[in-house]
């Protein structure tokens, strides 16, 4: 409250200045833009050295009183170079669009700012940077676009969002995601709802000064999307059509073929007998594996009976045209006569890519305005069909943005968009479920056919209609009795998502300098999900089951902002005070039934038995008071400060309210009289410091003790304990320091910035796991109590350089280079949990390490005697021995986990964006890269198992240890000892360096002369390719899919090659 009162005093103070002007001569004129001669409305005109000023109207005309004929008028307009002119009547002023970046207008919290007088760190991507790319999700434009911003590549399912991390990884258990804002209000819908053609700019707010006004939600940076609006006096109609072809962007890992696989698994079986507890003699073991021996009497008299049929029985299939017990010779080689009976039907990876594989997008925009109103309208249809089996997004969006200056002092506007998404998807959960086509096609051994075949001839078995019949593989040891391709083809997973996003505002100008605005943002997203699991095979069998879910997200942001902007003399002041309410509500209604009655109908009445019926409502609310002051003296010395006080329903009442703030300083050295360097256009030093919070992603009621409902016992109501009370939980607090230099040299030929940042997060939320013996839930074996114990920092340097390398009449070439270096380190951990391991990616969190540092068992090598894997250990047991300086063991469990000194965070990451133009042709190429770092390639580890029947093997296994290849670094194959021979260890750490060509765009601007017949102002035709190539340490490794180095079985990114046409009228 205090700061609000303070602000009131301040504002009152400033208001007194505004009375002090007198009126003399009148001057009139008009301002137009240089590039098209169109009148420019809203241009600021000030009399130099006085406080007098005005703005141009919608026709670009103005009228101003000046004290004397020699008065100098300063014309300034966002995005244009300032002009100073001696006052005269009927002035015709032509403003030129700014050449250098420092004149850019930036979208920042609760308003805009001119980059030259802004102290914070913002990267902005404008529409023209991505307009010609076939993007379905506008967030993809962020990949490679800005320094300090780390991204993953969006998955291949239509409409997927990339992951975004701003300046490192600030949290362990709370969210690390940047806050997403659309047209000034926090956005909670799906980002693929938004038509990228509607987006004017994407701003990434990086430091405390730019995010502090988002208070408790700003600590991880903010991505702020601004949609387009019309311009009075500039009516346009534009039409864009784009057609693309989609394919899998990343090839599959290199794996052995059937001829290689069968002898390898024979060897794995044989070795399990030879090296197992029974120590079966090698010749007997070979006979058992081939299938010629089924029983063996141990020296102690115990009889060992083996499954008849040798390795053939264990693999379940003999795809070769030789009898079962003749596939493998007793020496382990494949029978030379063996030929595959159905060689054309073994490629599952290829068979999963049977989707529509195309993309179409049509967009129409009409915008303009007259007099005191402007409008923007658009309509878009996009149809993207993924490369997997069913995945598809059909989207319709429409937008209308209307603004009107009703009276001189009252302005209002509405920006409305509605959209409809019809989405079908495949079961790709990233994990190892039987219906994940990626998991299945990657790991199924190359001996299993997709369709049924005659066991003798190998011919396809056909159904009555002559079609092929899927082979459900009931004798297959891998994905037994399941068929990911069949199931994904006949199951139905669909979503109808519709949303309305609205933004309204009303502004009252009390004086020229003081205005009150109220903003109302209201978003609603409805999502109807339908699932049907078939009654033939899989989770829905034998009855067939269907479920429907309605999910509604409602949120609004309502604020009242009082703004005061004033220039007097060389002093410029902008002040803001406001109040805001944020309200979020989530409702679900779900129901499920099983027992399909009639084929083909997946609505619930067509199912016999109700199995589920549920509903839920969650609420979160935030109330805030906010204020900001920006001051500059002659655009030379810049000061800014902001303060926000948030109350958040997620935190217990005792600690619910918290202050967040920032301070910023800047110095435009190039504006100093003493600084006269001809080749430096602009040079600015800036620095900010502030404190921002984070409590996203920790649930909605984390402080409340809870008994979970819906645990009924037949008809009796039931509940179980699900959550322990935690009144002490608070925000995570990021204290961010930022210092940077912005510069423009050689008349804009070279520009850029260099920044250092240090974001220290305190009160890091750790989910301190309680002993299991103190209880748990059905979901986890122990409770966790989240505590604000822990600190980490993200420090780094970011560089952005843009050079207009060649600038001539016909040929232009520019290059932008972004480089980022981030150091992430944990500095404090809870005393009771000094180390938190994460087994999936072989990392752990502890003081002195990054949050993604590898912590795993150290693979020492292979015992040349017997091919056993050796791991470093600290204990002497019967399985360990000393070799040189190291104690090594053959038992994985005895090896202790150790720090390897590696993590997936690269030494340096960056992007190169090149733009060429020659006459009417242009070409742009965006590439991203990272150097250094290691990932735990778990997907590859899964292909280097020591012998899991039916599971595919990497071609690297061909170089495994054998009695004749004793120097190998790959342990022997042995079905009975897989855990020790192929356990997770440093062996699977792989270089994380990569170079990716993300976008190539080639186009031709059709000459204006050709367009006159159709009255078009401009047109272009262009070709574009997304995700053209990825170069990394291992083929198939999805290195761009995660921040933490997880390489999983997710829907790998796609490649889109497209052609587009754009016409403007």
């Amino acid at each position: 409250m205090k700061e609000i009162l303070f602000k009131i005093l301040l504002i009152t103070c400033f208001l007194s200045f505004s009375k002090a002007y007198s009126q003399n001569l009148a001057v009139t004129g008009r301002v137009v833009a240089k590039e098209d001669g169109a009148p420019l409305p809203g241009v600021n005109i000030n009399v130099k050295g006085s406080g007098t000023g005005t703005q141009t109207g919608s026709d670009g005309r103005f009228s101003i009183q000046v004290p004397s004929k020699s008065a100098i008028l300063v014309f300034s307009f966002m995005g244009y170079t300032n002009q100073e002119v001696v006052a005269a009547n009927n002035l015709e002023i032509t403003l030129t669009a700014s050449q250098n970046q420092l004149n850019e207008v930036l979208v920042v919290a609760y308003g805009t700012a001119k980059k030259s007088t802004f102290t914070g760190a913002v990267s902005q991507i404008n529409n023209e940077d991505f307009a010609k790319r076939p993007l379905t999700n506008v967030l993809s434009s962020i990949v490679g676009a800005a320094p300090g911003v780390t991204t993953t590549l969006a998955g291949g399912a239509p409409g997927e969002s990339p992951g975004i991390r701003v300046r490192g990884f600030g949290s362990v258990n709370a969210s690390n995601d940047a806050l997403l804002v659309v047209d000034g209000a926090v956005y909670q819908g799906s980002f693929s709802n938004i038509n990228p053609d509607d987006v004017e700019s994407v701003s990434i707010l990086k430091d405390a000064a730019t995010t502090a006004l988002y208070g408790s939600r700003g600590a991880n940076g903010v991505v702020s999307i601004t949609t387009k609006r019309g311009r009075a006096g500039k009516n346009t109609l534009s039409f864009r059509a784009n057609t693309g072809w989609i394919s899998r962007g990343l090839p599959e890992y290199e794996r052995v073929d059937a001829y290689q696989y069968y002898p390898l698994m024979w060897e794995a079986y044989r070795n399990s007998l030879v090296y197992g507890v029974d120590r079966v003699p090698a010749n007997i073991a070979a006979g058992v594996a081939t299938g010629t021996i089924t029983s063996y009497t141990l020296p102690n008299g115990n009889v060992r009976n083996y499954t008849a049929g040798g390795v053939r029985a264990l693999l379940g299939y003999n795809p070769f045209n030789v009898p079962d017990n003749q596939v493998i010779n007793l020496d382990g080689t494949l029978n030379p006569d063996a030929q595959l009976k159905y060689a054309d039907d073994l490629d599952w990876a290829n068979a999963t890519t049977q989707g529509g594989k195309k993309r179409q997008s049509y967009n129409m925009t009409y915008s303009g305005g007259a007099d005191k109103s402007d409008f923007f309208g658009s309509f878009n249809y996009t149809d993207e069909q993924g490369y997997l089996i069913q995945s598809r997004l059909k989207r319709f969006t429409g937008r209308l943005n209307v603004n009107s200056q009703i009276t001189k002092w009252f302005k209002t506007g509405a920006n409305l968009t509605g959209n409809y998404n019809d989405l079908k998807y495949d079961n790709v959960d990233g994990g190892s479920s039987f219906i994940n086509p990626f998991w299945i096609s990657r790991y199924i051994a190359p001996i299993y056919p997709i369709y049924q075949h005659d066991p003798t001839t190998g011919a396809y078995i056909l159904n009555a209609d002559g079609g092929r019949i899927y082979d459900f593989g009931s004798s297959r040891p891998f994905s037994q009795g399941r068929h990911a391709i069949f199931e994904n083809s006949v199951d139905r997973q669909s979503q109808i998502r519709a949303s309305i996003n609205s933004r309204f505002y009303a502004t009252i100008n009390f004086t020229k300098d003081l205005k009150l605005t109220t903003n109302m943002a209201f978003d609603i997203q409805d999502n109807h999900e339908r699932e049907y699991d078939n009654n033939i095979l899989g989770d829905g069998a034998p009855a067939g089951r269907a479920s429907h879910g309605l999910y509604r997200t409602t949120n609004y942001t309502f604020n009242q902002l009082l703004e005061y902007n004033k220039t007097f003399g060389k002093h410029h002041i902008e002040a803001l005070a406001g109040h805001e309410n944020y309200f979020w509500k989530y409702n679900t209604l779900t129901a499920g039934r099983n027992g399909l009655v009639f084929e083909g109908n997946v609505e619930l009445p067509n199912f016999a038995t109700i199995t589920a019926g549920n509903s839920l409502e969650d609420n979160t609310r935030i109330e805030s008071y906010l204020s900001r002051i920006n001051y500059n003296f002659d655009e030379k010395y810049l000061v800014s400060a902001s303060l926000r006080r948030d109350g958040n329903s997620v935190i217990a009442p005792e600690g619910r309210w918290e202050n967040f703030w920032s301070l910023g300083l800047g110095w435009n050295i190039s504006r100093e009289d003493f600084f006269k360097v001809s080749w430096i256009d602009q040079l600015k030093l800036r620095s900010t410091y502030g404190q921002v919070g984070n409590a996203q992603g920790i649930g909605y009621y984390p402080y409340q003790a809870q008994y979970g409902l819906n645990r009924n016992n037949q008809a009796e109501p039931g509940a179980i304990q699900t959550n322990l009370p935690n009144p002490n939980l608070r925000w995570e607090t990021a204290k961010s320091f930022d210092a940077g230099i912005d510069f423009s040299l050689l008349k804009g030929r070279l520009g850029g910035s260099l920044a250092y940042f240090n974001r220290e997060t305190d009160g890091l939320i750790f989910e301190v796991p309680q002993p299991s013996s103190n209880g748990g839930t059905t979901g986890t074996a122990n409770y966790v109590i989240s505590q604000n114990i822990g600190s980490l920092y993200n420090r780094g340097v970011e560089v952005e350089l843009t050079g207009q390398i060649v600038k001539s009449k016909d040929f232009n070439y520019s290059l932008t280079l972004n480089l980022t270096k981030i150091k992430n380190k944990v500095t404090k951990m809870p005393p009771t949990v000094a180390l938190i391991p994460t087994s999936a990616r072989q990392t752990a969190i502890a003081v002195g390490h990054s949050i993604y540092d590898h912590y795993t068992r150290i693979f020492y090598g292979v015992d040349p005697e017997n091919g056993s894997a050796l791991y470093k250990t600290n204990v002497i047991t019967s399985n360990s021995r000393v070799i040189g300086q190291d104690t090594v063991t053959t038992v994985l469990g005895e090896a202790n986990q150790r720090w390897t000194g590696t993590n997936p965070i690269p030494d340096i990451q960056g992007s190169i964006n090149q733009n060429f133009s020659y006459k009417n042709f242009y070409l742009s190429v965006l590439a991203t890269f990272q150097l250094g770092g290691k990932v735990y390639d778990g997907a590859y580890a899964g292909l280097m198992h020591g012998g899991n029947y039916g599971t595919a093997l990497s071609t690297d296994i061909l170089n495994r240890w054998t009695p004749t290849n004793t120097s190998s670094n790959i342990p022997r194959l042995d079905v009975g000892n897989v855990a020790n021979l192929a356990g997770a260890s440093s062996r699977f750490l792989t270089s994380a360096s990569y170079f990716q060509i993300n976008t190539v765009n080639f186009g031709y601007n059709i000459p204006k002369a050709w367009l006159e017949k159709i009255n078009a102002k401009g047109a272009s035709i262009y070709f574009s390719a997304e995700n053209l190539a990825l170069f990394s340490a291992r083929k198939g490794m999805n290195i761009v899919g995660s921040f933490n180095g997880t390489v999983n079985n997710s829907y790998n990114f796609n490649r889109i090659v497209s052609v587009g046409l754009n016409v403007n009228f």
Partner: protein
């Protein structure tokens, strides 16, 4: 709200324009429409949960906490499909022993348990499940025991709620102490490490108590439960009552080789139950209205547990991949011990070809295929899961009496059961070890698939011996014999507890 009114007032003083009134009115309208400055605005609560204060306000509400535990008995535990509440324990206990046979390695469910790998691997789900599931039950019981006395309601209700909670705590500790501790040796110090005794809601770590201390607490709890449940008439067999508490007391005593108590409580426990008919015996073991069932879960369609149901693995006729490709079969050595006139002989098909035995469509058949458990509706994986039957009480009584030297009493108890199962049964005249052997064979046949065999092998200090029948070296990974007393009879404390409880000590590895 007030703040903004003040701002407006200040503004008006400084404004000099004509239409101040209109602007002012609009500004007031804008700011007045803020409707949120009340303190309650930031108070939000979940809709799918309630606070513990509400749960224990009244005994009526407190019953929901008891029923929540009953529901846990068939809830999926820690996301592992084979762990459908207590049924996970039941299947594991038979899979790790000798009487249930896994015929293929191609289906991975229970494969590594069958091969005795999982419970000796720190990070395996079976260790975490057996530790965490029973402690989750104990944790919920502890909250009930700590709070029920202050609830508003009748003393009878309080006794019943507390009695059920105490029974759960005793039973859960009993289930897990047998896995994580060494076997109870009557007359021995039993000073080996058991599990931590946590008896009230807490966040403090506890060290492992000795096996002796744990059994002392188990007995204290079950005795208190028996006192509290006297006179309580339960709503259905998913609840405990006096008979079930006594049955659990009998089990505990049997494990502690306390023969007198075991025999006495087994007899008391079964009082009032009648053995099922031979027709009922063949009806699929899925209905708790069966007169000899004492304690069971009833799972109804809208509380289905899908593929984590007991019947998704053990039923002969449900169409799950596990049943289709890896149906459960009986150890042929045991099958051959069943007399031809025994109704139970018909529950397993020694040929593996008898099509009178149901399988799911294109289901695989193996010799000694089981038909003991069936789902009533092949479209649903569900059925009632038996946790205690009167037959077991006869077997406990017979075994306890036989082991205490009361041959006649043992023969009587055995006869009542055996003549029911086999009309041609002739009253046993065996004595001593022979009689005990006969009772144990009856026990193995009777309780096949119900989760007793691993416990029985361990408490009787027997070796695992899978030789001589249909277990093979390929599928068992050559684990065909494990000597009695081997360290492998103890489960390892799961990695999670090792990480989170600084006082915990691991079992010998």
């Amino acid at each position: 709200m007030l703040i903004f009114s003040v701002i407006e007032l200040l503004l008006f003083k400084t404004l000099t324009m004509k239409n101040i009134l209109i602007k002012g009115a609009l500004a007031v309208a804008i700011t007045l429409s803020v409707s949120s400055c009340k303190k309650e605005y930031l108070e939000t609560v979940p809709t799918n949960a309630v606070g513990p204060i509400d749960v224990f306000a009244t005994t009526k509400n407190a019953w929901s906490a008891v029923n929540g535990i009953h529901r846990m008995m068939w809830s999926q535990i820690f996301g592992t499909q084979s762990q459908g509440g207590q049924s996970g324990n039941m299947i594991y206990m038979d899979m790790m022993a000798d009487d249930m046979v896994l015929n293929t390695t191609s289906n991975s469910w229970f494969r590594s348990e069958y091969q005795w790998l999982s419970h000796r691997t720190l990070t395996s789900s079976i260790n975490e499940y057996h530790y965490g599931f029973y402690y989750a039950i104990i944790g919920n019981a502890n909250v009930i025991i700590a709070n029920i006395d202050n609830a508003v309601g009748s003393q009878a209700d309080k006794n019943a709620v507390k009695g059920e909670a105490l029974t759960y705590r005793a039973w859960a500790y009993y289930q897990m102490i047998q896995l994580f501790g060494e076997r109870w040796v009557a007359g021995g110090p039993n000073s080996g490490l058991g599990v931590p005794l946590v008896l009230e809601p807490t966040t403090e770590p506890h060290a492992r108590n000795t096996v002796a201390q744990v059994y002392t607490q188990i007995n204290a709890d079950i005795d208190a439960a028996i006192a509290a449940l006297a006179g309580y008439a339960r709503l259905n067999k998913s609840h405990f009552d006096l008979s079930v508490a006594k049955g659990i007391k009998a089990r505990i005593a049997l494990t502690q080789q306390n023969w007198t108590v075991a025999a006495q409580f087994a007899r008391e426990a079964r009082t009032g139950y009648t053995l099922m008919s031979n027709t009922q015996y063949k009806a699929g073991f899925n209905d708790y209205t069966n007169p000899e069932w004492m304690w069971a879960s009833r799972i109804q369609a809208d509380q289905t547990n899908f593929f984590y149901s007991f019947f998704a693995y053990l039923a002969s006729n449900y169409n799950s991949t596990a049943i289709r490709t890896s149906p459960k079969t009986m150890f042929s050595v045991l099958y051959n011990k069943i007399t031809p006139t025994d109704v139970r002989k018909g529950l397993w098909d020694p040929t593996g070809t008898n099509t009178a035995f149901p399988t799911p469509p294109s289901g695989t058949r193996y010799p000694y295929l089981s038909n003991k458990f069936r789902v009533a509706d092949v479209n649903q994986s569900i059925g009632d899961v038996p946790y205690m039957r009167a037959a077991e009480m006869y077997l406990i009584e017979a075994e306890a009496l036989a082991r205490s030297g009361n041959n006649t009493g043992a023969q009587d108890a055995l006869y009542t059961l055996a003549i029911n199962r086999d009309p041609s049964y002739i009253r046993s005249e065996r004595t001593g070890a022979d009689l005990i052997d006969e009772i144990m064979v009856q026990r193995r046949i009777e309780l096949w698939g119900e989760g007793f065999r691993f416990y029985d092998l361990k408490r009787t200090n027997s070796a695992l011996n899978r030789n001589g029948g249909n277990h093979n070296a390929t599928n068992t990974n050559s684990v065909l014999e494990v000597p009695a007393g081997d360290k492998r009879w103890q489960f390892l404390i799961p990695q999670g507890e090792m990480n989170n409880n600084p006082l915990i000590v691991q079992n010998p590895q």
